[in-house]
């Protein structure tokens, strides 16, 4: 089956990224922040597997630490966006009427702003640090989650088992929590995986622009930015973080695709 290849490759790449992030919390070959001016701009060697940057810091260690930062930021953002988005979209979709209209009006207004621009504006208010970044990006992505969840809830609430729940005598709140939400999980799970990818990219872009996590803390984005002056002389400085971003995104997208295929009702109900 096609999705099996997707799952394997996607899973492997994603696991690699997550594993690296986790490992970096406890161990890196060298201290990613330690400056060693005598070993500046060394190409990859047996000592420094991915070479060193302009301050003599080991690129491999920085890439691992960067994985940690990027992954943590992405996970927190997705968790924030999903948890709030599900509630907002769920309430709007289930209750309909004026509640739905007002919520969706605000939602669509936010949706009209390009995500990064919105995040930028909020970073100015919240400050350029990790938690600010998470809040800003999270807020920027809540509207898309809300839209998707609302759509799913709209179609679920017409199903007869929701009416059956009402006939039994269950309250609207109980029906929504017990019957609607568990069935709305599938599209949300797929959305979560692709959102993880977007957030990773957004964070990299913001850091690249100098607006994300500030140096010296490494993220793949700001490593990429810092490598620009050295593209011709020290190519490994841009290749390493660039490749990491690309491979992680590929892995997550493949995983998301296979998840979506597996959750496709046509395949589930044989």
């Amino acid at each position: 089956m096609r999705w099996r290849a997707n799952t394997v490759i996607g899973g492997a790449l994603t696991a690699l990224a997550l594993g690296t992030a986790l490992t970096a919390a406890f161990w890196t070959p060298f201290d990613p922040l330690r400056v060693n001016l005598r070993a500046r701009l060394q190409p990859p060697s047996s000592l420094y597997w991915l070479g060193t940057d302009e301050f003599g810091r080991d690129v491999l260690s920085r890439v691992m630490a960067g994985a940690g930062t990027s992954v943590v930021v992405a996970l927190s953002t997705v968790a924030l966006a999903i948890s709030i988005g599900v509630v907002v979209g769920g309430v709007a979709g289930y209750l309909r009427g004026w509640t739905d209209r007002i919520i969706m009006a605000v939602n669509d207004a936010l949706l009209a702003f390009p995500g990064i621009l919105l995040a930028l504006a909020m970073m100015i208010v919240l400050g350029a640090n990790k938690s600010g970044l998470v809040l800003a990006l999270g807020l920027a992505y809540i509207p898309s989650v809300a839209r998707v969840v609302r759509g799913t809830v709209l179609s679920i609430r017409e199903k007869e088992y929701i009416e059956a729940s009402r006939v039994i005598g269950n309250s609207e709140l109980y029906s929504m929590v017990r019957h609607v939400l568990p069935n709305a999980v599938a599209p949300v799970a797929v959305l979560a995986t692709s959102m993880f990818g977007w957030v990773l990219l957004a964070e990299s872009a913001l850091s690249f622009l100098g607006l994300g996590v500030p140096p010296p803390a490494p993220t793949w984005g700001n490593m990429l930015a810092a490598s620009r002056p050295y593209m011709e002389t020290a190519a490994w400085l841009s290749i390493a973080p660039g490749l990491c971003i690309a491979l992680t995104l590929l892995g997550i997208n493949l995983l998301g695709d296979s998840l979506r295929d597996r959750l496709d009702p046509r395949m589930a109900h044989g």
Binding site: K159, E160, Y161, E163, A164, S165, R166, V167, I168, G169, N170, H179, P182, N183, A268, H269
Partner: protein, 516 residues
């Protein structure tokens, strides 16, 4: 899917292909046209049409044959027409593709055909879009566009299953007329033996991809040779003895002047007039009694059922339960004592809950039953419906009939005194229908609940009902005991419904009249 199937259709003959789901009847039909869905492949065999083997013909020749030689009408009128293209354009497609005609001539032929299928305003219909038409009209449009090409063979795959009784009759009569006019042979795929008896001359019975039996309709229905065929014929609902259940004393549920209106469509600057789905209905149902409500689509019978359960807040009128007025107040006891069995077994069970949880859920509101007691009740219920030990299964692992039994178990688990059954067997195969109806009757005899049985299937009604209520346009036009209604209908609408329903009378083989 299909294994070693051989049969023949003569010129101008009407053949019925009968089978339950999974019998391969649709696959066989699609194979003739070379329209098998991805995943199914024709592995062997010959399909000879007028001497030409369709199985080995080149794709280009096949395309030339589809339409003028073989036409097909599908089951779901709601999705068989492209919603984005006007009706006229879709009808003209076939003509434009297969014949060299001027546009004006094509239009003329389409309009003529629309008039032939009794569409009231052919010119307006030609330019209109499919969503403006009801299911029955869409099927007529489909029939018109297929017959425009005067095919030699017409394949009709359950063309009227999704339509109500009266419309079914109209569409099929029309099909027969047109086939006779053009000398078209018809292959009707159906699971409805009543239709077979009325329209077909010969029949082929399929079972799990193989030919079970073939012969004239008379022979298949009245002297079947094979066991399976006999099972199918015996599964047909038939009238039992008139029950002696007389509603004694005060009726269980009493409805007076029930009215349910839905707001009219909101147009740009004004609102259409309110539509009364139920327009002043008085009805009594006694304990242990089954009252069937019949009528065409739009008669209001489904709305009546929901309104009687107080599921529609916009209903007005009076509802009394055990003499108590439950119209306005939130009467929890009424809610606990009344239940609903839904039509579609595929969407009435939460796919994320196990069977045991589904049946146990109504017991949340019965605090007296907790823990082990509750489990015992659930197990007992599952046993009653013949699905003992299924508590850990998921709904998608069960067949339609099994799911419907779970739905019934869920409805009965609180021992309600009033059950509304909304077309509970319409979505099921013939033999399964019989099983579920029998189960329902047994449970009612055992638990003594009053039942409102909503159905358009008069044969099922004939089997289970004590009294019958006929609805048209939101009003009750006739009501009476089952025997009275079926044997001596008074109102014109009732007579029309009975005439339209293909009900087999087993006492009288001569009553099988095949047209053409």
């Amino acid at each position: 899917m299909v294994d070693d199937l051989s049969f023949a259709i003569e010129r101008g003959e009407f053949l019925a292909v009968v089978g339950e789901s999974g019998s391969g009847k649709t696959a066989a039909a699609r194979a003739i046209l070379g329209l098998l869905p991805p995943g199914l492949r024709k592995v062997a065999g010959r399909i000879e049409l007028d001497g030409e083997d369709l199985a080995t013909v080149a794709p280009r020749r096949m395309r030339a044959l589809r339409g003028p030689t073989v036409g097909m009408v599908f089951q779901e009128p709601m999705v068989s027409l492209n919603p984005a293209i006007s009706v006229g354009a879709q009808m003209a497609e076939g003509l434009a593709l297969h014949e060299r005609l001027a546009k004006s001539e094509i239009r003329r032929r389409c309009l003529d055909m629309l008039a032939r299928v009794q569409i009231r305003d052919p010119a307006r219909t030609f330019d209109a879009y499919p969503h403006e038409f009801s299911g029955g009209m869409r099927q007529r449009i489909m029939l018109a566009s297929v017959m425009l090409l005067k095919p030699k063979l017409l394949l009709a795959d359950e063309p009227t299953t999704a339509l109500d009784t009266l419309t079914q009759r109209e569409v099929l009569d029309l099909m027969v007329e047109l086939a006779r006019d053009y000398g078209t042979s018809v292959m009707l795929i159906t699971h409805n033996l009543g239709l077979v008896s009325r329209y077909a001359q010969r029949a082929v019975v399929l079972r799990q991809g193989r030919l079970a039996e073939t012969g004239s309709v008379q022979q298949i229905l009245f002297s079947p040779r094979e066991t399976y065929t006999r099972q199918l014929v015996e599964a047909l609902p038939r009238r039992g003895a008139a029950s002696a259940r007389r509603a004694a004393g005060e009726p269980l549920i009493s409805v007076r002047g029930l009215k349910v209106s839905f707001g009219g469509r909101q147009r740009l600057f004004r609102r259409d007039a309110d539509v009364a789905a139920v327009n002043g209905v008085d009805l009594d149902i006694g304990a242990g009694e089954t009252v069937a409500v019949v009528g065409g689509s739009g008669s209001g019978k489904t709305t009546l059922g929901r309104a009687m359960l107080r599921l529609i807040p916009r209903a007005s009128g009076e509802i009394r339960f055990h003499g108590r007025d439950v119209t306005k107040t939130r009467d929890h006891e009424f809610r606990l004592a009344s239940q609903l069995v839904f039509q579609d077994p595929y969407s009435s069970l939460d796919p994320r809950m196990r069977v045991g949880e589904i049946v146990a859920e109504p017991l949340r509101h019965v605090p007296q039953l907790a823990g082990a007691e509750r489990d015992r009740r659930v197990a007992a219920m599952l046993d009653e419906v013949g699905l003992a030990g299924f508590a850990q299964r998921w709904p998608h692992e069960l067949s339609g009939g099994q799911r419907q039994r779970i739905a019934i178990a869920r409805a009965i688990v609180r021992h309600p005194s009033f059950v509304v059954a909304d077309e509970p067997v319409s979505a099921l195969d013939m033999t399964i229908q019989a099983q579920v109806l029998k189960l329902f009757e047994r449970l009612q005899a055992q638990y003594g609940f009053g039942c409102l049985f909503i159905s358009h299937d008069l044969a099922a009604v004939e089997q289970v009902a004590d009294r019958v209520v006929v609805m048209q346009g939101g009003r009750i036009v006739e009501q009476g005991s089952r025997d009275d209604i079926f044997d001596h209908p008074q109102h014109d609408y009732t007579k029309a419904l009975l005439a339209a329903a293909p009900v087999l009378d087993f006492a009288d083989p001569a009553s099988v009249r095949a047209s053409g």
